[in-house]
């Protein structure tokens, strides 16, 4: 490029940009045409299969006596993301190539789901791999066949985008985790999601992960859970929107509990500790605003909450807790005075010691030098 002068370089750039725009334009024009063509041309197999499977009465009996419906609602099928993207029945039903179909050997519906879902892996291998590390996989390995597979959350023929509206995610989890879902729906997070389609509050997956959901009962999860909360509650912009303080996490880390947890997090994440994390005081799925009279940290309930770990604590105990507030004269006068005192006193002692000892040292060096020179 050094050989070209500036003008030539610019000309070249203009030409290149124009060319790129042209290509992009052609592609943009061609794209909808391509999709329209796909919609018209493809899904031939789908229509063919639905000519039988569109019959609501079509079913068969499995070995265990369960009745398996073979009906696929054409409406659901056509609105699914796969059908829209031009993916045909045989993409998943790889063994069915002709009629009559090969014999079904699954004894019951669950066995069928747990085998058929492996078809997802062909295209969604990364997410499939993640599920292998999840607690759902662990539970299945331990023998619980009800543990969910891809299709249990995403649907089989009815696969839809999971975030329209956002609450679909949480209600999906709630279809099995009913108790937790009820608590969540009443919480400050879940309430805002259900009632006003809030776009900021956490869904189940924001804290638990999506495909590689880990065991929330593990010491690691407990120890690192404040980081989950901090993901939103240390975000100044987000917290200002709701009039909340964004340094609760920083102040927690300096607190007795937080310092204790920090050591465990750094050194012994797999060992269970007794120091409180956010959820131990605020609740987990039933978390409420601290101003809510039912909140575990509302002044009326705080002593009860403390007593979960400090059973002998008396009524004065709660005022020992500074409540994620910075030291201030209004809120924590004792701490304020101690801090103010030491701000002056520590520096005074340090600098007076250094100054006095420094002068003594200087004087003794001068004395020695004088003695030598005499």
């Amino acid at each position: 490029m050094e050989m070209f002068d500036g003008l030539k370089t610019r000309k070249f750039k203009i030409t290149a940009t124009a060319f790129a725009l042209l290509i992009a334009g052609i592609l943009l024009l061609a794209l909808p045409v391509g999709i329209a063509e796909a919609e018209q041309k493809k899904q031939e197999t789908e229509h063919y299969c639905l000519s039988c499977h569109g019959d609501p009465d079509l079913n068969m009996e499995l070995a265990d006596g369960e009745t398996l419906s073979l009906y696929i609602s054409p409406g659901t099928m056509e609105s699914s993301v796969h059908s829209q993207a031009g993916i045909e029945c045989e993409a998943c039903h790889t063994e069915i190539k002709s009629y009559p179909h090969p014999e079904i050997e699954y004894r019951n519906k669950r066995e069928l789901s747990r085998s058929y879902y492996l078809a997802c892996r062909k295209c969604h291998s990364a997410n499939y791999e993640k599920t292998l590390d999840s607690i759902h996989a662990d539970v299945a390995e331990a023998g619980d066949m009800d543990s969910p597979v891809c299709t249990d959350c995403h649907g089989a023929h009815s696969v839809q985008a999971l975030d329209q509206p956002r609450s679909v995610v949480s209600t999906t989890c709630g279809s099995c985790h009913e108790k937790v879902f009820d608590q969540y729906s009443d919480s400050v997070h879940g309430g805002a999601l259900m009632d006003e389609d809030n776009q900021d509050v956490p869904l189940c997956t924001n804290c638990h992960g999506v495909h590689n959901i880990s065991d929330p009962g593990s010491p690691q999860f407990h120890t690192s859970s404040p980081d989950l909360c901090a993901g939103c509650h240390a975000d100044t912009e987000l917290m200002e929107k709701y009039g909340l303080s964004s340094n609760v996490y920083d102040l927690y880390e300096l607190s007795w509990h937080g310092v204790d947890v920090a050591v465990y997090k750094a050194m012994w994440p797999t060992i269970r500790h007794e120091s409180a994390v956010c959820t131990d005081c605020h609740g987990i799925h039933n978390m409420l605003s601290a101003q809510d009279p039912n909140s575990m940290v509302h002044p009326d309930n705080l002593l009860n909450t403390c007593q979960k770990c400090h059973p002998d604590a008396g009524p004065n105990w709660t005022s020992a807790w500074t409540g994620h507030h910075e030291i201030s004269f209004e809120r924590t006068p004792y701490l304020f005075y101690v801090e103010q005192f030491y701000l002056t006193f520590s520096r005074l002692v340090l600098w007076l010691s250094i100054a006095y000892v420094g002068l003594q040292l200087l004087r003794s060096i001068v004395n020695r030098a004088r003695r030598v020179s005499q």
Partner: protein, 250 residues
């Protein structure tokens, strides 16, 4: 106690030299200092990793949860030793003071302010001579009282954060975080003070081992406690020691 004149014979080369020594600390006081030294040292060494639990160096020391527990136990054990020494020290010395068998040398008086001013003038080259001192100079009194008050604060705040639940049966809860802040900050102030001020005065300025062996030599007395030295000599004028005449080597 007062400095007491003692005359010791010391073998030096071919001749025998007579050396006067001056008792400065009783055996009891020396033991007290040793216990304070060891327990405060242990308290600082076991306290710092607890204070700085968030820091990596501290987490290396705390290596296991059991280690954290045992460090805390050692801290509490040393605290009990220090508390007992402190109670003994205050009780014993109050008793001696009331019995009038302990001169009140350690208490600050007007002379100390004059001496401090004199010392500052000397250090800033406005004066050629250091002030002359009695048994304890103002630096030594300052050291004693600074550490005395600091340890009292450490003791009170330490007990508060050691037994927060019983304490809050009587006192407002706010004393707990306040004590924790005071305990953890005062500890650093004390450490800095000992490392800079005390270590300089007893090791670097001159090696003063009197707190361990209990005595000062005549030279040390003359140079550093001139007023006290003269007073003792005057007191002892009429009682000449039997060995004071020089003895030829045999």
């Amino acid at each position: 106690m007062n400095h007491e004149l003692k005359v010791e014979k010391q073998q030096a080369g071919n001749g025998v030299r007579i050396e006067k020594t001056f008792d400065r600390f009783t055996l009891g006081q020396r033991w007290e200092h040793l216990l304070v030294l060891v327990s405060v040292g242990v308290l600082i060494l076991t306290g710092l990793p607890q204070k700085y639990r968030g820091a990596e160096w501290s987490q290396q020391i705390l290596s296991t949860p059991e280690r954290l527990d045992s460090i805390r136990q050692v801290h509490h054990f040393a605290a009990i030793i220090l508390l007992l020494v402190g109670l003994y020290h205050v009780g014993h010395n109050l008793y001696l003071l009331l019995k009038r068998s302990l001169p009140a040398d350690i208490f600050p008086d007007r002379d100390d302010f004059r001496d401090a001013w004199g010392m500052i003038k000397y250090l800033l080259f406005f004066s050629r001579e250091k002030p002359s001192y009695w048994k304890y100079n103002f630096e030594q009194k300052f050291t004693y009282w600074f550490i005395f008050i600091t340890l009292a604060v450490m003791g009170v705040t330490g007990i508060i954060i050691w037994f927060p639940i019983p304490v809050t049966q009587l006192l407002p809860g706010a004393v707990i975080p306040a004590s924790k802040l005071a305990h953890s900050t005062e500890a650093i102030v004390l450490t800095v003070f000992i490392l800079i001020w005390h270590v300089y005065h007893v090791h670097l300025e001159r090696l003063n081992l009197s707190i361990f062996n209990g005595r000062l030599s005549e030279t040390e007395m003359r140079e550093n406690h001139a007023l006290e030295y003269e007073r003792i000599l005057k007191e002892n004028e009429n009682i000449p020691g039997p060995q004071e005449k020089e003895i030829e080597a045999g």
